[in-house]
Each structure stands twice: as structure tokens, then as C-alpha cells.
């Protein structure tokens, strides 16, 4: 039995169901709408596993599911050496999100990372601690800022409502995903010109650690 991991709620689940339906594979939630049990029609030998999108990378890497749908951002963030653990099968054309770095719009002098770096040095000298960047994407943001040579910052964890962190004075800048930028702007923030860390999209991944024959399902998807 091939296990297919799919986000268990919201728009991501609905769009995933629609995408598979267009390939002639019906993903169905059985029982009540609140029950996380489902089945697959249109291809044999595939079992539906409904999971939080954030847990799908881990389950793929552990080989407990054979295929899974989740964002590029989550795979790159949660799996060190992700390319050894999973391989992309299809980019699905929805769930687009950019992981970006944003600063308060009132920082008129800060439009590029090199400005952020310069301001971080000033901030640390004045306040005695490193400029705080709120995010839940610690690895991606740290790798990005290290590669870009930004110093004198620290990451602080924010698992939700990250755009509010500056107003709440728990951070001086943020790194978060955005689709339209509307929430960023509404919270008096502005994205840096060169502050794009990663472009993300809902993607179907195949585990390199699960074995099993995913051929029938992958062929079905390929013949749409």
C-alpha cells in the first residue's frame, strides 16, 4: 500500500483534492467533515493520510509516507539535506508564497540587506542587544543572512501573527511568508528590495526512504 500524505485542512487541502481530481484521482474524506480519515479512488493501492502540512516533511523523511503534498518552504526549513530525503515529483501551481524579510516602513533609510546590516550594528551599539528578527523559518533565514553577510542580528521565534511582532516590540524586523504582501503593509512593514529568501509552491514530493512502488500513481498524474 502506498501512503499519500495530504494537508488535512483549509485551502491547501481543497486545492490538493482539486489538483488530483484533474488527474483522474479522487481523494475523498470519509465520514464526517471533522474526521481525518480518507480514501483514494481512480488508482489502486494508494491510501490517503491526512496530516498537518508542517508534519509532512518529517513523515516523508522518516519514510512513513511514500508521497506527500507540502510547500517548498516547509521541506527546505525542516529537513537538513532535504535533497537526500525527498525528491520533487510535481510543482502543483498553487499555494504560492514568498519567504521574505520585512522591516518597519518608517525605516526610510533601509531598503536593502546592506542597510539592514548597517542598522543592526547601530542598534546593537545603542540598545546593547542584537537586532531581533521574528520568524518560524530559523534555518532558512539564518542560512540566507549568513550567505548575505548580515551580522549583529538574532532570530526570535514566532509561530504565528509574526507581522505584529514589531508593533508589539518583541522584534525589530520579521521574516515570514507572504502571497500578496497585504498583511505586511497593513502592519506598517515594508519588504526589502533584496529580501526574498525563498519562493515556495505546493509540491508533490516522493520520499527517498520509503521504498514501495509509487509508479501507478505517478503515471496517472503524468497522463492527465
Amino acid at each position: 500500500m502506498i501512503k499519500l500524505g495530504v494537508p488535512s485542512k483549509g485551502r491547501l487541502m481543497k486545492e490538493t483534492f482539486d489538483w488530483f481530481a484533474e488527474c483522474g484521482v479522487q481523494l475523498l474524506k470519509s465520514g464526517s467533515d471533522r474526521e481525518y480519515v480518507g480514501r483514494v479512488e481512480g488508482v489502486n493501492g494508494v491510501e490517503l493520510v491526512l496530516l498537518s502540512a508542517g508534519e509532512i516533511p518529517r513523515e516523508l523523511a522518516a519514510g512513513r509516507i511514500h508521497l506527500g503534498v507540502t510547500g517548498t518552504d516547509l521541506v527546505h526549513e525542516k529537513l537538513a539535506n532535504w535533497a537526500d530525503a525527498v525528491e520533487p515529483v510535481a510543482e502543483m501551481g498553487f499555494g504560492f508564497a514568498d519567504l521574505i524579510i520585512a522591516v518597519p516602513a518608517c525605516w526610510r533609510d533601509v531598503t536593502y540587506l546592506h542597510d539592514l546590516d548597517a542598522v543592526a550594528a547601530r542598534f546593537r551599539a545603542e540598545h546593547g542587544f542584537r537586532l531581533r528578527i521574528a520568524t518560524k523559518y530559523h534555518r532558512l533565514v539564518r542560512q540566507f543572512l549568513t550567505a548575505q553577510g548580515v551580522a549583529d542580528y538574532q532570530l526570535v521565534d514566532s509561530q504565528g501573527a509574526t507581522e505584529g511582532a514589531v508593533k508589539n516590540e518583541t522584534a525589530e524586523a520579521i521574516a515570514d511568508i507572504t502571497t500578496t504582501g497585504a498583511t505586511i503593509a497593513a502592519n506598517h512593514l515594508r519588504i526589502l528590495e533584496d529580501g526574498l529568501v525563498l519562493k515556495s509552491e505546493a509540491t508533490l514530493w516522493k520520499s527517498r526512504n520509503a521504498g514501495g512502488d509509487c509508479g501507478p500513481l505517478i503515471r496517472k498524474i503524468g497522463t492527465q
Binding site: 539564518r142 508593533k167 506598517h188
Partner: protein, 348 residues
């Protein structure tokens, strides 16, 4: 395992024979000091954990910081310390390196002639490792710092370059930017004031950017000389000759080059064959940020091995940890797991 214990004991005994005091350090260190010192990069290298009472703690990523803290709190100079034990390095990607490894170290806090102390420490490591046939590399961060100090440019630009000595990419991009006329900066649109950074600070930096806009580029001849400086490499006597020649174009490195000449003489006196020791101006610039002068490493010609020993001068670190007090400090570590493997050719 017993071989490793014997090797560790042997190295400790050599260091103790110089009069060094054996010291211990807790494996669990408060994270705040290390994070403030090394910045966010240390999180990609150190195991961070926390408990509800003490907050964030770190599995000791090195001994230097606790040994310096201990010295700054209680002791007077001169002082020599030695220590041994495991350090822990978090593996953010598959490097093949062990997460836990042994170090035996030696640290000297001494206000007497700096070149002599550097030669003493390097000479000691050189003598210990001589039977292993390793390659020794050295450098001196002081040369680059002196070159930056001598540039014809503003204090703010020199400070920016000094701050990024250890991030070669950012350093190069700053140098490129400062070597051209300043491009017109398009400011951000502005908005409601939020956050801890003050409106005054924004104001001050905008004024600074305005000053910057009229700043003349760093002269091309100086950029070229700095680039030539960073490219210098060779055996110690040859590198010294190149540096002495470059002093005509970069007069500010004169004292640092003279210091290097004294150190080479002291090494020679200590019995080191200086013609066999490599020197690179850019050596050590991507490694740990706290070295700010002479730096060294000993390497085996084995793929994937770390330096078998490394060390250097870290005066600035003592200033940061000493709360105003600073001590000239030189030290280094040997990785006994690797010195043992190099000696016996055996697996662990």
C-alpha cells in the same frame, strides 16, 4: 578509548610542564554570553537547549570563552592554562564531522612582548606535532586591520570594513561599493512609527547617508594594494619579503609587518624551521570571528579532516568578556582524536 585517554594525558602533561594550570569548564554553558559574542551563526554550530529556570543553555562549543571568563574574574597575568574534554558541534547539514569531539587546549595571558608569546605558543604546538609531518599554515588578521586603518576614507567606512573582515563576501561587496561614486539612494516610502528603533536613529542615518553621497571613492591605487595584500601567500620568509615590498604602497601596514618580522625571528630562535611554515594574509578570515591577530593551523593531507590543531591571538575577546579590562591572549587547541590517528594511522 584508552589510547585516546593516553594521548590526552600526554598532551596535558606537555602543557603542564610549561607551568600551565589545569582548569575545568562546565559542559553546560549559559547561552546568552556565547550568543551575544558569536551571533546567530553559533546556533547553526552549537546545541542550544533551555530549562524553565535558567533559560537558554548551550553544550560547550569551545573552551576559550569559559577559560577567558574564569581568568578575567579571578586572576592576574601572566597566566597559563591547559584543559581537556569534549566540545559539541551541532551539524546543520551532513558534513561527516562528529557532533562530539575531544580538545586539549593551552591559553596564555601575558602582557610581555606579543611577538615572543605568539612564537612561544606556536613553537610549543609545532614541537608537539613535529613527528606527525603536518602542514602548518599561519596568518595575521592584524595586517588587514592595519591596511583598513590606512585607507583614505571616512571613519564610518573603515568601521564598516573592519566589522566584516570575517565575512569575505560582504567585505568585498563593501569594498566595491566604496571604490565607486555613491549611487543615488531611493528611500523607502515611510509610514507610521513602530518598534524600538528610534525615529532619531532613522534621522541620523539618513543624514549619514547624505554625507556619504558626496564621499569620494577610495582611490583605485589603494583598492589595488589592498587586493594585492589579500592575495599574498607563501612560506614565511617569502611572504615577509612580499609584505615588506607592499609597505611602500600601504604604509599603514608597516608596524604590523615589523611585528611579523620580530615573530619570525623569535620562531627561528625557538627552533622552528620558518622556511617550512606557510603564511597567507587571508588565512583564518572565514573561521572563528574572535581571532584578531596571529592565527595558525596544522593540517594532515586527509580529505574531510579538520585542522589537527588551531589557534591564535584574541585580545578583543578578552575586552568583550572582561567588561572594560583587556588582556593580551594567545592560545590554541589540539584534537587528540586526530593527532592519534595521524600518529598511528589507525581508525578510532
Amino acid at each position: 578509548m584508552s589510547q585516546l585517554r593516553a594521548e590526552t594525558a600526554r598532551l596535558l602533561a606537555v602543557f603542564e610542564a610549561t607551568g600551565a594550570v589545569r582548569v575545568e569548564a562546565d559542559i553546560l554553558q549559559p547561552a546568552a554570553v556565547l550568543l551575544d559574542l558569536y551571533g546567530e551563526d553559533i546556533r547553526a554550530r552549537a546545541y542550544v537547549t533551555s530549562d524553565p529556570l535558567r533559560g537558554e543553555q548551550m553544550l560547550r562549543p569551545d573552551f576559550t570563552v569559559p577559560v577567558v571568563q574564569r581568568h578575567m574574574a579571578v586572576s592576574a597575568e601572566p597566566a597559563r592554562y591547559t584543559y581537556a574534554g569534549p566540545v559539541f558541534r551541532y551539524q546543520d547539514s551532513a558534513t561527516g564531522r562528529a557532533a562530539q569531539s575531544e580538545q586539549v587546549g593551552y591559553e596564555v595571558f601575558d602582557r610581555s612582548a606579543p611577538a615572543g608569546i605568539e612564537a612561544e605558543v606556536f613553537g610549543l604546538f609545532h614541537r608537539i606535532l613535529a613527528p606527525l609531518g603536518l602542514t602548518a599554515s599561519t596568518g595575521d588578521v592584524g595586517l588587514l586591520r592595519a591596511a583598513i586603518d590606512g585607507l583614505t576614507t571616512s571613519g564610518a567606512r573603515k568601521a564598516a570594513l573592519r566589522r566584516h573582515i570575517w565575512r569575505p563576501l560582504r567585505f568585498q561587496s563593501l569594498l566595491t561599493r566604496f571604490s565607486q561614486p555613491v549611487a543615488q539612494k531611493v528611500l523607502g516610502a515611510g509610514g507610521q512609527h513602530i518598534g524600538l528603533r528610534t525615529a532619531q536613529d532613522v534621522h541620523e542615518r539618513l543624514a549619514q547617508l547624505q554625507d556619504e553621497a558626496t564621499a569620494p571613492p577610495i582611490p583605485a591605487a589603494e583598492i589595488e594594494a589592498l587586493t594585492d595584500l589579500l592575495a599574498i601567500r607563501g612560506k614565511l620568509p617569502d611572504a615577509l619579503k612580499l609584505l615588506q615590498a607592499l609597505t611602500r604602497r600601504l604604509p599603514s601596514i608597516g608596524p604590523a609587518v615589523a611585528h611579523m618580522a620580530v615573530r619570525i625571528k623569535a620562531l627561528d630562535t625557538a627552533g622552528v624551521d620558518v622556511a617550512q611554515i606557510g603564511f597567507e594574509v587571508a588565512y583564518g578570515l572565514t573561521a572563528m570571528e574572535y581571532y584578531d591577530g596571529f592565527v595558525f593551523g596544522f593540517y594532515a593531507a586527509k580529505v574531510g579532516w579538520p585542522a589537527i590543531a588551531s589557534g591564535g591571538r584574541y585580545d578583543a575577546l578578552t575586552r568583550v568578556l572582561g567588561q572594560g579590562r583587556a588582556v593580551p591572549a594567545v592560545g590554541g587547541i589540539i584534537r587528540p582524536e586526530y593527532s592519534l590517528r595521524a600518529a598511528t594511522g589507525s581508525a578510532l
